[in-house]
Symmetry: C2
């Protein structure tokens, strides 16, 4: 089997799996319980929380709450607009956001919030100036992903945040960082809200986090007293432990892995284009090497997927709403501890 769909989800690495199994075996307490098994479970959660914040370079500026994944974090940031302030205002989002963001925009519109959708410019870019041009004093939130999940296009969210905050200091900036976290170097300190997920970085499905600047108002999506009242529900302790482990395994290796994946991607492309010169590469000037977008003129993506699937090679077409002929393979290199 040649699995090339790491942007959809990654396998769980051996140390992460072992961590999860150990927690399932030995630490079954509820982190909210005041007795020893509870305190032990809470320690596991707090260790992961700090390690993830540190890996993101945000331990002094931001807080982190654990979620069930990237979609929940994205939803919480958007729905936050309906509860933390009374004014309607507007929201600026890129046209290529993840479905969890796009699917909730009509609800914001029905609540009277103007939704401004910004398509990427030529070459798949979203310049700070283009975002600034759609922003005004009524803008409450700008939500732009850092790495597009279908094409790998990188949007320089730090530069966007810098330019926006200078002109409109009250604008809140959110980035869906799911495809970039622990893969692409990024300065995140200017961002008000950041969503990440474990299952794109060899961690388990069902765990993610919403990271936000210390003094930001956050309203819970799920009721309850856990996570400081900002995210109800008993924490997924084994999943969170696995998430923490996945992050620790990649910490300090982002540049090294990026260089290695870039080499692999270039080698793959060179060889493929030698044999299949008709295939076109979907690429921007600033592209994540972890995602490789291809189009095969004249062949439907489903056909290519099925043909490759029969040979044990697994890739994705874009999500349901993208061009049918676009394919996506996300090349990556298994980490050294792979088993």
């Amino acid at each position: 089997m040649i699995y090339l769909d790491f942007a959809a989800t990654t396998p769980v690495s051996v140390p992460v799996r072992e961590k999860i199994t150990a927690v399932l075996t030995e630490h079954s307490g509820n982190p909210s319980s005041p007795h020893r098994p509870g305190i032990e479970a809470a320690k596991i959660v707090e260790t992961a929380r700090l390690d993830i914040l540190r890996a993101a370079g945000l331990e002094n500026s931001h807080r982190l709450i654990f979620t069930s994944g990237g979609s929940e974090g994205n939803s919480q940031v958007l729905m936050n607009l309906l509860t933390v302030e009374k004014r309607a205002g507007n929201i600026v989002v890129s046209a290529v956001e993840h479905n969890s963001v796009r699917s909730l925009l009509p609800r914001l519109e029905r609540a009277g919030i103007e939704v401004r959708v910004l398509p990427p410019g030529p070459g798949g870019t979203l310049t700070p100036e283009a975002v600034l041009a759609r922003t005004d004093s009524e803008t409450r939130l700008v939500s732009i992903m850092a790495v597009n999940n279908e094409t790998g296009f990188i949007f320089d969210i730090a530069a966007i945040a810098g330019v926006l905050k200078k002109q409109f200091p009250r604008v809140r900036i959110h980035s869906d960082f799911v495809q970039g976290f622990m893969k692409i170097p990024a300065t995140l300190r200017e961002l008000d809200f950041i969503t990440v997920a474990a299952h794109k970085i060899y961690g388990p499905k069902g765990t993610g986090a919403l990271i936000f600047q210390n003094n930001r108002l956050v309203s819970p999506l799920i009721g309850g007293s856990q996570e400081g009242g900002l995210r109800g529900g008993t924490q997924n302790v084994p999943g969170i432990a696995g998430f923490g482990e996945a992050v620790r395994l990649l910490a300090g290796k982002i540049e090294e892995n990026l260089a290695q994946v870039s080499r692999l991607r270039a080698a793959f492309l060179k060889e493929m284009l030698k044999h299949l010169p008709l295939v076109q590469v979907v690429e921007s000037k600033n592209n994540s090497p972890y995602i490789l977008g291809l189009t095969v003129p004249g062949i439907k993506s489903e056909v290519v997927i099925r043909m490759l699937s029969e040979k044990g090679i697994f890739i994705s077409a874009g999500s349901a709403c993208s061009t049918k002929s676009r394919l996506r393979g996300s090349a990556t290199t298994p980490p050294k501890y792979w088993g």
Copy 2:
């Protein structure tokens, strides 16, 4: 270690843990992916979905979406009131609902929905007549848990639903069934919405389900296309597999386990009261044997918890908002497959 806090969370049973580990090892696909690893993951999810619906006796009348746990399901049902219909109306809830329900009530109130809180009557009962007396043609939702998480009081939610639906067929009825699922026999077919969680029945934390009647309008809490667009986010495949396994292990054994736990509870009480005659039992006429509420006059619950904790015995006080002097131990019997 004598862990008596199963109402807070249960350990994960060995077969459940093995199932989770197997899925983490062998089935790492994304259920939304159209290739073989994705299809295999989707099959795991669909098997669990059907098995859980069947165990609840609801495979012909209800649908099920997977959530991150009971709190998410409860939140989704309550927040549903803000999106599926325009009218304000009212909601009837018991005064002893789980914190995930109670904490969201002010948000409903701010949206103009009248919140009617119904305290249990003498002996901890909530009769259908008492609920009916607070219900009228403007009532949109009645939300009453089946088994209280602190006292184990059982509310006959099937009888309540029967009486309410006769008089007000359009009223929707929700029950937080987290403390009763796979433990207490119940007829659920009349209920519009039911929330359950895996980690109270030897399954993993981070997984639960919202079950609802086939033709009910449900609005997503988390955006995205998964779960028929009703719950976004990549499904927690290993957690869901573990949830399915936990349910299969208890299916058909509810009555047998209930009888065994009742015997254990009676034996424990008899022995305890022999040595500690001052301890009072918090009990209603219809009580879950899985939960045992005690009060120790004159001693703060924190003190009792700490003293017992030092001896390796772990119990809970009620949640933060309950009487300080109330203790809760949830007696249960480890299933036969326990390891």
